[in-house]
Each structure stands twice: as structure tokens, then as C-alpha cells.
Amino acid sequence: MDFKDLTIERAHKGLLDKEFSCAELAKEYSNKAKKLNKDFNIYITLTEEEALKSAQKTDGRISKGEDVGVLAGIPCAIKDLFNTKGILTTCASRMLQNFVPPYDATAIKKLKDEGMVMIGKTNLDEFACGGSTEHSIFGPTKNPVNPQYVAGGSSGGSAAALAADTCLYSLGTDTGGSIRQPASFCGVVGLKVTYGRVSRSGVTSMASSFDTIGPFAKNTRDCALVLQKMAGNDSLDSTTPDKKVPDYLNNIEDGVKGLKIGIPKEYFDENIDKEVSESVMNAVKQLEKAGAKIVQVSLPATKYAVAVYYIVMPAELSANLARFDGIRFGSKPQEEGKTLTDYYFNARGEGFGDEIKRRIMIGTYVLSAGYYDAYYKKAQKVRTLIIKDFEDVFKKADVIIGPTAPAPAFRIGENIEDPLKMYLADALTIPASCAGLPALNVPCGKSKKGLPIGMQIIGPQFTEDLLLKVGRSYESCEQTV
């Protein structure tokens, strides 16, 4: 049996038709993960034993003729920022190198109820802070398309896990682009949901007014299937509204006839790699051929988004990471010191890497007396302008399309000593994050060097179904070519 071109839907059918068993799937993907991990450093922890146990359970249910859900027995990979009961969860940080959570994140609990088979926990930038998965104590994840290049970040391991075909879907988190950008760099589908659409309970917080969690998948239909099982209100995360979750497959094949697609000029300016602009515009042309109407629009506050984000996010991050003191959980420092204060300094000094320290310091600075108004409050106001831009555009267009990242993946080590340059790689994903909007990365071509290029489809809040429909329509155009 060749598992190479499997998708969730095909694997589910194969399981029901008894072409293969869940245990066979779990073994196949676990072996592949083990083998490729040596080359690409995708996983922090491999969980073959648990995967097999869960797979056998679903096999038992299938053999008894029980109805099983579409995700039952499907191999997946989980970013090591999600709490998984009884399984090491490091956040790629020295601080949590020995942390074994006593409970599951809500998203994990929901997927376990569906018969999740977890191949392993994937690499990331420490505490999800970074755009390349180079800020991990476990070393960088390499891009499966070309190992000299980064896989993107912060959910680089989850994107690479899928690109290397070591699972059939994976989970990541997206605060300023951490699902969309690695999905773009690795050539897979990745969805950042509307703020609050999926519960974040049990996922380590980064910046609480931006954080979202979402799926990576091989195509938009699979992406819809995973989202379906995770979305909705959760009493453990009060930012999840009690809002009906639509059936994400219901209209996914309806096409884009008559749909208005906004093309923001700021997403195609001189800062964007020419190959990237061209690939994305070619994709837009395909959608136009499929019946969509193209509207030129403008999001003038785009140029402020990186500055706004790198003020507000570190402020929130510095507050969230204040809880890591090496006392209730985390690692004990080598030198404990004489007083509690010494202990805090040493635990945090040893436990956090440089990028985390930089961000905590920026956050502490912009929130400190004398600087609060000039930085934090000002940024909060400019954030409102970014939101207003989108509101204006959505009066003229149903969705917005632009590139996900200004350029294809960069080389490992290229930006590591220049944090600002690394931050600017998020310039096109941050605006939607500032406004809490859903945005979908769909692969739309390759550069001359063979590196994947992704287009980003952005919609109004809670229009994940619409984005998936547009993405699906593009995939269908590609298949008929």
C-alpha cells in the first residue's frame, strides 16, 4: 500500500473499507517521522507508543462495526505548545524542558474524543516567539523542500511535519503569522481562525489579544474537517463567543462566481519579492476565470502594522511570561541563590533564550511609567486604524487576497542576528492578526529556486467557511489545468 498521496478523507475511506488499519497507518507514519526527524529536526518528542495504543482502540471500534468520525485513527502532529496530559510539553524552552502537563488543552481533548493518533510534538520557536523555528533550544527545523532553508515559524515543526508527509494534519498557533507563514514556506494549507473561534485553554499564552490556534492540512477540505472538530465555545476560554459553528464542508464546493476579491495595493508594493507577487496574481487570475470579480483596494495603515504589533505583543507577552518563575512548574536554576528574588532572576535568566528576553524587555519598557503613553497607548490607537482599514475594504470586497509572506523561505542563519529584519517578514500576516480576522494560506506556486509561495485569503471575522471555499475553488482550478 502506498500511503504517499493520502489525505484525511482518503485515509478515512481506506480505514472504513479495510484497505489498511489504524495501527498500520500509525506505524507507517511513526516510522517515517522517526527516519525524517534525523534530517529535518521536525519533532521534539515522538509518541509512537501512545499513537499505536490510540490506533488499536479505533481499530477495535471499526471491527465492531461502530461509527467512527472522520478524524478517528488519522495520524497528526501537535505543536509543542499544546498541553498534552502525561506527555512532555516543552514550548521549546529550557524553562519547560522537563514539564509534563497534568491535563489536556481543550483542542487536544476534543481531538482525543475523535480518536486522535498523535505521532509527536513538533518543534517551534521558544514560546512561539519567532518566524523561523531557529529560536528553539532543540535547534532549527529544516524545510523539507530544501533543508538549507528555514521551515518558517513559529509553528515550523507542524508545517514541516506535514510537508515531509509524516502526518495527515497538524496543529499550530498563530499570533502574528505563526501558522500562515510556515505553511507558505513549506507549501501546505494553514488556517488562522478568527480570534476566539477555537478555545486556547491549555495552550501556553503568548499575546492574549492576538493568540489563535488552528490546523495545517494538505488541502482545504481536510483543513475544514479538522477545524470542524475544534471550533466553538468553551467555558474554559471566555473569549470564545457562543456563536454557531457552521458546517465547513457545506458550501466549500460552491465556487467563487460573483464573489468580489479585493487586491490591496500595499500587499504588492516594492517590498514584495517579484516572483511572489507574480505567483499570487496568477492565482487571482485563475479565480477571476472561475467567475470572481477583482476589485482594487487599499489598506493604508498596513505600513504601521509591524510597529503596532511589536509594541503590543511584547507588552502582553511580558505579562504572560511573568508566571514562569521556576516555582510552580518549570526548571530549577543551577544556582538557586539566597533569596526568592535571586531565585526568580536565576530561573528566568537561565530558562529563557535571547529572543524571549528581548521581547520581555521591550514589553516591560513600553509598559513602564513614562513610556506607556508614547508606545503602548499609541500602538493601541493605531491598531484601531488598521481595523478600520479592513472594515472599509470589506464594504467593497468579500475577501482580500495577497501574498502570505513578502518572500519565500530564507536560509537558516540568515536573519538570526537581525531581529528587526526577522520581524519585517511578518509584515503581511500581522495586519489580519491585529484585527482578529481569519486568514488562510494556500500554496500557489514555487520560486525559481523551487521554494513554495503561498497566497493569503483574508475575510471578515467568522468567515472561515468563505475562505475555505475560495481556497478550494483555487485548488479545483489547479487540478483541471
Binding site: 522537563n98 509534563v100 497534568p102 491535563y103 478568527t194 480570534y195 476566539g196 489579544s209 467555558s235 471566555s238 473569549t239 463567543p241 505600513k303 504601521y304 509591524v306 510597529a307 503596532v308 511589536y310 509594541i311 511580558s318 518563575d325 516555582i327 510552580r328 512548574f329 530549577k332 539566597k338 533569596t339 526568592l340 528574588t341 535571586d342 531565585y343 526568580y344 536565576n346 528566568r348 535568566g349 537561565e350 529563557f352 535571547d354 528576553k357 528581548r358 520581555i360 524587555m361 521591550i362 514589553g363 516591560t364 519598557y365 513602564s368 499609541k378 500602538a379 493601541q380 490607537k381 493605531v382 484601531t384 486604524l385 481595523i387 531581529p419 528587526l420 484585527a435 482578529g436 471575522q461
Partner: protein
Amino acid sequence: MIDEKQVKHIAKLARLELKDGKVSKFSGQLNDILDYMALLEKVDVKKVEETSQVTGLKNVSQEDRIITKCDGDTLLLCSPLPKERKQIRVKPAITM
């Protein structure tokens, strides 16, 4: 402009021990980043409200009842420090 003295002060506020060589490195990097933020100085926001949350939820409340995800002993196991009578023993906060 953040000089090395200020970097040390911020690190102190944030309870971060910085190794000697790092102070000057961070000072340079933080200055680059904050210089970039100066972009916002010229933006006119006189009549603009601040955004602190994006989906418009207000006063989310729920019944006040205890939900136990795991018991105290299990949670105590997460701590790397010694435990006594269901408490974590830490270094003294005040020394004489």
C-alpha cells in the same frame, strides 16, 4: 535611546539575569527595534479610540462553581522544588 544602564534597569524590573556580554548586544538590538517604532510618532490618532480586544465581547460571566481538572497533589508534582504539607518550599523572601 536605551543605553546599557537602562537595559540593566529593565532586566531588573522583569527579573531577568543577563550575562555581562549580553547587555551591550541587547542595547544595540533594542535600539534598532525602538527606532523602527518611531514610525508611529507621526500618525494622527487624536480622535481614535484604543483597541484592547477585537470581537466586541462584553462582561463574559459564568456560574461560580468549582471545576477540578486535576487535584492539588498532581499539580504539586509539576514543581521542581521540595514540598511540605501540600506547599512548595521556596527561598526566603526577606533575609535578616
